[in-house]
């Protein structure tokens, strides 16, 4: 089947898959958002335990999606893997550390004799929620704003001279941390942070059976939705008005084009529709529970969740499609990464495309397994009778 595809079609297919994984990852970061709200929403130990356990049953899927996102990016666009990870070293390392400390915190938190006490593990969860979201958002923003690096594959043949035989060289000052100094990048970082919190609040709303917590959720939803909308609008307006990194389809030369991302949106109506529908769904899921008076709607997570996936997905498509360099270099424009110059070979993409057919099956069993254990809302009673708690 995939053998009949052209090389560029496979490259685009894989950009779609990577984009989809990135979009699902952002949605699943409600776990991270929730980790920053444990003390805001849970005023007693029991309440906090409810919240931690609600997140604890989902954290591994977010974590696995992150790992798979990395693996899929490596398999399909290895030049990105080598250039960005090996260059923006500190950003990625801090993200990784933030996730390392998360992985043990649920399991260790309530276990007796855990060396540091439960507070320590809750702080680690908070760090993961704060750094993980902001830094991933900031790193993804560089897909639009660019980074400083050069790529020269022929460096591999440097046996003498002053340079090491290394293909990708980062020229940014702080191995990627300089990205956080760019306000546009930071705006996306903070968007992701507040979005993750909003998603977490909607998730809790859907799963918690506790009136006190519910009251606090409603209040917090408004407090977090406002900065989310402000930062999101700031980033989006900025993006649509800013210069972008276009590719000349004949010469493959990269050049700066004013309003490039706005042009992309106009040139790809499907992406524009995805974006608009996505944003509308995100807002719908938030507004309905905020504006309720008597019986509140608790299913906002579905609209906002699906909306998040559609919006992030369309942003990734804006970054990589329509002759756009998805990982631009502001240091050397011609070193910018495009889906064509950074991808795996035709053969590898074909093989991986067959593997990608497993994805719907994976989503189906995750759905089935979750339905089977999440069949009722969680309250203190359930936590007290549960034999395995976090």
């Amino acid at each position: 089947m995939f053998e009949t595809f052209q090389y560029i079609a496979l490259q685009q297919y894989w950009w779609i898959i990577v984009s989809l994984l990135g979009a699902i990852l952002v949605f699943l970061m409600f776990v991270q958002g929730g980790q920053t709200l444990i003390y805001t929403l849970g005023k007693s130990e029991d309440e906090r335990t409810i919240l931690v356990n609600l997140l604890g049953r989902k954290w591994e899927i977010t974590f696995t999606t992150l790992v798979t996102f990395g693996g899929a990016f490596f398999a399909s666009f290895p030049l990105f893997y080598s250039t960005s990870f090996g260059g923006a070293y500190w950003v990625w390392m801090l993200i990784l550390i933030a996730f390392v400390v998360q992985a043990v915190s649920y399991e260790f938190r309530k276990k007796p004799n855990n060396l540091f006490g439960h507070r320590f593990y809750e702080i680690l969860l908070f760090i993961n929620g704060l750094l993980g979201t902001i830094l991933i958002g900031t790193a993804v923003a560089t897909f639009f704003t660019g980074s400083q690096f050069s790529v020269d594959k022929m460096n591999l043949t440097l046996l003498t001279g002053n340079k090491m035989p290394i293909i990708s060289e980062w020229t940014g000052l702080a191995y990627g941390l300089e990205a956080a100094l760019n306000l546009q990048n930071l705006a996306l970082g903070l968007t992701v942070f507040f979005l993750a919190r909003v998603l977490a609040l909607l998730y809790f709303m859907n799963r918690v059976n506790n009136t006190e917590i519910m009251e606090r959720i409603k209040k917090q939803l408004l407090y977090n939705a406002i900065p989310f909308v402000i930062f999101f609008l700031t980033f989006t307006v900025w993006l649509l008005l800013s210069n972008g990194f276009a590719i000349n389809p004949t010469t493959k030369e990269v050049f700066v084009e004013p309003y490039k991302y706005l042009h992309n949106l106009i040139a790809m109506p499907i992406v524009a529709v995805l974006f608009v529908v996505g944003v509308a769904l995100v807002l719908l899921g938030i507004i309905r529970p905020i504006t309720c008076f008597v019986k509140c709607h608790t299913k906002g997570i579905w609209a906002t969740g699906i909306g998040t996936i559609l919006t992030v997905f369309s942003l990734f498509l804006l970054a990589g499609f329509n002759n756009t360099a998805y990982y631009p270099s502001t240091f050397d424009l011609q070193s910018s990464l495009t889906i064509e110059n950074s991808s795996s070979s035709y053969y590898t993409l074909t093989i991986m495309s067959y593997v990608s057919l497993l994805v719907p099956f994976v989503i189906a069993y995750i759905w089935y397994a979750w339905r089977s254990i999440d069949n009722k809302k969680i309250d203190i009673e359930e936590i007290k009778t549960e034999t395995h708690i976090y």
Partner: protein, 520 residues
């Protein structure tokens, strides 16, 4: 290569070694205990005996604690290929990335989805669905081992690929050759079976502690029987796959083999030093020669191990470094020259292509391809070829201690199984103490196995094609140093916490039946 920053290479290697060794402290228990727990739960579902449920839940709790920290350390490893070995990521990413992605899609989701059912589904799903979930966790974790070991084996024996000079990278040409390469299959089975042995030793050791304390006697004996049978079966497979590993190594990584055996001069009917003590020889003119001060040898066994033929010739360190015409072995000097030609021809090819001179490009390409088998050696042109010899004492001793411990575990499984079956184990305190103290030994054996595999192949990241000095990322050594110490502190802190939690869970023992039945 005077421009290579060796402190960067060394710190990058140290960081990778640190994270890999920490990761492998937790992985084997996950791989084996997941199956042991699945066997136990199967017993519970078959017999409906609540004692089996208690047993299952106890080991499952320990599994969970260990699993979490294994996940934490594993994340770093995947991304370190990019962060610290960026050249490598491009040079072979076309082949190496695929198994990592497949691991995520095929294995990690299976593991992480059903682990939630395993822990939280006891009161929510049917017994059968729960059992299937437990089995799927075991299968998922072992599938993930398959893919990462395929990736590792490929670095030791790069199969199914071709260099694409236009892209300056290796590209996959046959996925099945990568997946089913003899080295990959052997490595997978050898590694997972060794993990089963470690897990069996762990279960037996912990159960022995309960017997020594006269607690939970039935629980301990049942656990011992499951683990010792599993351990014995795994041990048999280890012997077979270990033998396969040696042959693969002799064929594809002769220097690693020579170093592991401290074979300086190659010979026919090469003997195997079963036990040996090395004396460092300080004569500079002799390359990495390590004399034995003491050894017990079995004649011709090394030749049999390597080539299944007592008369076979096994090359030594000296033959590989200085060459051996009689056996058609090129010296490292010759290989570095050929490697240099290959690298320079690639540059020539690219320049000719740029200027549109096809005839020069074709000549350069032919020269490049003729010498590509030595490509990585080119980076050692004008350097001391000594750097291409791995640390002999470390690989030599690691291998022997690992094998010795392997036989110790087989004996332990046998003795303890027979004594438990005869119901005499409770009185054999010496055996019980031996079982208990074998737990750290199993971890030592596991780590030593990886030291043989990874130290023995130095300096190659991809055997003969890419050395670590040409695979590294361009970062300030101070940054790598800082992340090294960060990881060291974080992992060590978490390891101490994990051990303390494990110990208190073990001391607490399985939940009393009454508590468990409440939620049954």
């Amino acid at each position: 290569m005077e421009h290579v920053d060796f402190s960067l290479v060394d710190w990058s290697r140290a960081q990778f070694a640190l994270t890999a060794m920490y990761h492998y402290l937790f992985v084997p228990l996950t791989l084996g205990l997941s199956f042991i727990v699945a066997f136990m739960e199967t017993q519970y579902v078959r017999t409906s005996n609540p004692e089996w449920k208690r047993i299952t839940k106890f080991w499952m709790t320990l599994f969970g604690i260990n699993f979490a920290i294994g996940v934490a350390t594993g994340l770093i490893l995947e991304f370190e290929f990019g962060t610290n070995w960026s050249n490598y990521s491009w040079f072979v990413g076309d082949i190496f990335g695929a198994p990592l992605a497949i691991e995520g899609i095929m294995a990690f989701f299976l593991e992480s989805t059903f682990i939630a059912v395993m822990f939280f589904g006891w009161n929510k799903v049917s017994k059968k669905f729960h059992l299937i979930s437990t089995w799927l966790v075991a299968i998922g974790s072992n599938l993930s081992a398959l893919w990462i070991l395929v990736a590792n084996a490929w670095m030791q024996y790069p199969a199914g690929m071709k260099f694409n000079p236009d892209m300056a990278r290796n590209e996959m040409v046959n996925f099945w050759e990568v997946l089913f390469s003899p080295v990959a299959m052997n490595k997978f089975f050898h590694t997972v079976t060794s993990a089963y042995v470690l897990s069996s030793v762990f279960v037996i050791g912990v159960s022995a502690w309960f017997l020594l304390k006269h607690r939970e006697l039935l629980f301990a004996k049942k656990s011992i029987i499951v683990a010792s049978v599993f351990g014995l079966v795994a041990s048999l497979l280890i012997i077979i796959t270990g033998d396969g590993s040696a042959r693969n190594m002799a064929q594809h990584q002769p220097m690693k083999f020579a170093a592991m055996e401290n074979l300086y001069k190659g010979q026919q009917n090469a003997p195997l030093a079963v036990i040996g003590l090395l004396q460092k020889n300080h004569t500079d003119t002799i390359i990495r020669k390590q004399d034995f001060t003491f050894k017990i040898e079995i004649p011709s066994l090394l030749s049999i191990m390597a080539f299944q033929d007592a008369n076979a010739y096994v090359p030594g360190v000296d033959d590989l470094v200085n060459g051996n015409k009689q056996h058609n072995i090129l010296s490292y000097k010759e290989r570095t020259e050929k490697g240099k030609i290959s690298i320079m021809s690639l540059a020539e090819y690219k320049n000719a292509k740029k200027t549109g001179n096809d005839s020069i490009a074709n000549v350069a390409l032919t020269k490049f391809e003729e010498n590509y088998a030595h490509f990585g050696y080119g980076y050692y042109a004008n350097r001391d070829v000594n750097e291409l010899v791995p640390n002999i004492p470390l690989t030599f001793y690691s291998f022997r201690i690992m094998v010795g411990l392997g036989f110790h575990f087989i004996a332990l499984f046998l003795v303890i199984l027979i004594l438990t079956k005869k119901d005499k184990i409770g009185k054999k305190r010496f055996i019980l103490y031996t079982a208990l103290w074998s737990i750290p030994l199993a971890y030592i054996a596991s780590e030593l196995g990886w030291i043989v595999a990874e130290v023995g192949r130095q300096p190659w990241v991809i055997q003969d094609i890419l050395p670590s000095i040409a695979a590294v990322s361009q970062i300030k050594p101070a940054s790598v140093q800082l992340t090294f110490w960060l990881f060291f502190v974080i992992f060590t802190g978490l390891l101490i916490a994990e051990i303390k939690i494990m110990l208190s869970q073990i001391k607490k023992g399985p939940e009393p039946e009454s508590v468990d039945l409440k939620t049954n």
